[in-house]
C-alpha cells in the first residue's frame, strides 16, 4: 500500500469514476435533494460520513465472516443488512452524544440507509479487492465525489429555476437534461491517471 495508490483511488472516486455522474449510483438523492444548495450540502456531508463508516463495517463483515464461511455470494444481502443497522445505530448514537451533528445531518441520515451509492461502494470495495485502509479511503472520497456532484448540480438547478424555459421542459425535465450535460462534462475526466 503506497500513498500513490491511495491518491489514485481518491482521484478516481472523486473525478474519474464519480459515483453519480459516471457510475450513475445514488441518482435518487441526486435528483431529490438538489433543489437548494444548503440541502444539497447537508446531503453530501451525510453521504461522506455514511459511506466512510459503511466501507469500514462492510469490509470487516466481508473479510471475517463471509469469506471465512465461503458465503461471498451473499454479499449484497448481507451488506444491505449491515448498512441499514449501522446507520440506525449511528443515528441513535449521534442523537445522544453529538446533538449538534445530529441536527446538522437531520433527515438526510436515515434517507441514505437504502442509497445505492452506499451499497455500491461496499460492493466495489470487494470487487476491486481493496484492503481496509483503501476501502475507507474509497468510501470517504466516493462521498466527496458525491458532494462535489450534488453541489455543482444544485447550483446549476438554482440558476435554471430562475430562467425561462419552454413550458414542456419546466421543472423535472430540464433538471434531467442539466444532469445529463453535467455527466457529459465529467466524461472529460476519463483517462486521467496517476502513474
Amino acid at each position: 500500500m503506497s500513498v500513490t495508490k491511495l491518491f489514485s483511488i481518491a482521484l478516481g472516486a472523486i473525478l474519474v469514476n464519480n459515483f453519480i455522474l459516471v457510475q450513475f449510483l445514488g441518482i435518487c438523492p441526486f435528483m431529490g435533494v438538489s433543489k437548494k444548495m444548503d440541502t444539497a450540502l447537508g446531503m453530501g456531508v451525510a453521504v461522506i460520513f455514511v459511506m466512510g463508516i459503511a466501507s469500514a463495517a462492510t469490509w470487516l463483515i466481508n473479510e471475517y465472516l463471509l469469506v471465512r464461511l465461503g458465503l461471498q455470494y451473499m454479499q449484497t444481502v448481507a451488506f444491505i443488512l449491515v448498512i441499514a443497522a449501522l446507520v440506525q445505530l449511528v443515528e441513535m448514537f449521534l442523537q445522544k452524544a453529538v446533538p449538534a451533528l445530529y441536527q446538522a445531518l437531520g433527515i438526510y441520515l436515515p434517507l441514505i440507509t437504502t442509497n445505492c451509492a452506499v451499497l455500491g461502494v461496499a460492493l466495489l470495495n470487494v470487487q476491486n479487492s481493496y484492503n481496509f485502509i483503501e476501502s475507507v479511503v474509497y468510501g470517504v472520497t466516493g462521498g466527496i465525489g458525491f458532494l462535489v456532484a450534488i453541489c455543482l448540480f444544485a447550483s446549476v438547478r438554482e440558476r435554471v429555476d430562475n430562467c425561462e424555459c419552454p413550458k414542456s421542459f419546466e421543472g423535472f425535465p430540464i433538471a434531467l437534461i442539466s444532469a445529463g450535460l453535467l455527466a457529459l462534462a465529467f466524461m472529460g475526466f476519463s483517462g486521467l491517471r496517476v502513474f
Binding site: 465472516l65 464461511l69 458465503l71 455470494y73 451473499m74 444481502v77 448481507a78 443488512l81 449491515v82 443497522a85 440506525q88 445505530l89 441513535m92 448514537f93 442523537q95 445522544k96 452524544a97 430562475n162 430562467c163 425561462e164
Partner: protein
C-alpha cells in the same frame, strides 16, 4: 446444506443487529417532553417560519424550553394559542390577528427600458439604477412574495403584488422575500393604508407614478387622532392610534390612502369618504360649540 448455512448466517446476523439496536435504543434514548407532540399538533404545520423558528417543531420545542412566548404563531392565531396554553397550563392571551400589506399600488409604473433578465424581484432590483421600473421603491411585480406565500394569499394584479386578507395568516414570509421591503404587517381590523412607500423627493414621486405620495401633509393635518404622519417623504399610519375613519383618504389629493380591500367601486369609495368628511365637519362644529362628540 449450503442454503441452510446461508439462511443461518444471515438470520443470526439479523438477530444480532436487532438485539444491538434494541439495546442501543435504550442506552441512547433521548428524553422528549410529552407535551411536544400535542403542541406540534396544535400548530398549523405549515412551517412558514413566521414565528422566527425553523419550523413548527422547532417553535414547539422553544415553547417547552420557555424560550418563546405562546402567541408567536400568526398562522395559527388565537385558536392555536388557546390550545397551546391549555397544554402548557398557562393563562391564554388574546392574539390580535395581523395581515400582510403591500405598500404599493403603482399600476401605471413605467419601464425605464426593456428588461430581459431573470423573472425574479431580487435579480431585477439589482439592475443598475435600482431595477427596471421608473420608481426606485415600488413593487417590481415578479412575484417573489407569491412564491414565498405558503397559503396562496399573494397574487400579482396589474403588475403589483396584492394580499388576499382572508387567506393571509400574517406569517410575513412574503416580507422576507421582498427586496423592496414593501410588505408590512398591519392589524386585520384596520382598514386604511398608505399605498406608497417611495421615500424619493415629492417631485420625483409625482413624476414617476400617479399613485406616489407627494408628502403634502394634508392627511397629517386632517387626522384628529394623530395617527398619520409624513416621515421621509411618505405618509405613515400609526395603527395603534388609527380608528379607520377614512378622513385621510378623503383628504389625500392623489387617492393613495385607501381602503385595504381595494376592490370597492369608485362610487362606493367616494360615498364612504364623503360620510367621513361629513362626520369630521360635525365634530369640528361640536368642538367649537364646546360639546362632547356624539355618535354620528
Amino acid at each position: 446444506m449450503n442454503i441452510l448455512y446461508a439462511f443461518l448466517v444471515l438470520g443470526v446476523m439479523g438477530a444480532v443487529f436487532g438485539c444491538v439496536l434494541a439495546v442501543a435504543s435504550k442506552v441512547f434514548a433521548v428524553e422528549t417532553d410529552n407535551r411536544l407532540e400535542p403542541i406540534i399538533e396544535a400548530l398549523p404545520g405549515a412551517n412558514c417560519g413566521g414565528c422566527g423558528y425553523a419550523g413548527c417543531a422547532a417553535y414547539a420545542q422553544a415553547i417547552i424550553d420557555g424560550k418563546a412566548e405562546i402567541g408567536r404563531c400568526a398562522a395559527g392565531g388565537s385558536d392555536a394559542a388557546l390550545r397551546i396554553s391549555a397544554i402548557m397550563g398557562v393563562e391564554a392571551k388574546e392574539v390580535e390577528r395581523t395581515v400582510a400589506l403591500v405598500r404599493c399600488r403603482g399600476y401605471d409604473r413605467q419601464l425605464k427600458g426593456p428588461y430581459d433578465g431573470l423573472e425574479d424581484c431580487v435579480a431585477a432590483s439589482k439592475v443598475a439604477g435600482r431595477g427596471p421600473i421608473s420608481c426606485k421603491f415600488g413593487c417590481l411585480g415578479f412575484g417573489n412574495c407569491v412564491r414565498a406565500c405558503k397559503f396562496g394569499a399573494m397574487t400579482i394584479q396589474d403588475g403589483v403584488a396584492f394580499v388576499d386578507r382572508e387567506k393571509c395568516t400574517g406569517c410575513m414570509s412574503c416580507a422576507a422575500a421582498c427586496p423592496r421591503n414593501l410588505i408590512v404587517s398591519i392589524p386585520y381590523k384596520n382598514e386604511m393604508y398608505v399605498s406608497c412607500a417611495s421615500v424619493a423627493a415629492p417631485k420625483i414621486s409625482a413624476k414617476v407614478c400617479k399613485n406616489g405620495c407627494i408628502a403634502c401633509r394634508k392627511c397629517e393635518q386632517i387626522c384628529h387622532v394623530g395617527a398619520i404622519s409624513v416621515v421621509n417623504n411618505v405618509a405613515v399610519i400609526d395603527y395603534d392610534k388609527c380608528i379607520s375613519c377614512g378622513l385621510c383618504a378623503a383628504a389625500c389629493p392623489r387617492h393613495i390612502i385607501r381602503d385595504v380591500l381595494d376592490q370597492e367601486t369608485v362610487a362606493e369609495f367616494k360615498a364612504k369618504v364623503a360620510r367621513a368628511a361629513e362626520l369630521h365637519k360635525r365634530e369640528i362644529a361640536a368642538a367649537k360649540a364646546g360639546k362632547p362628540v356624539g355618535p354620528a
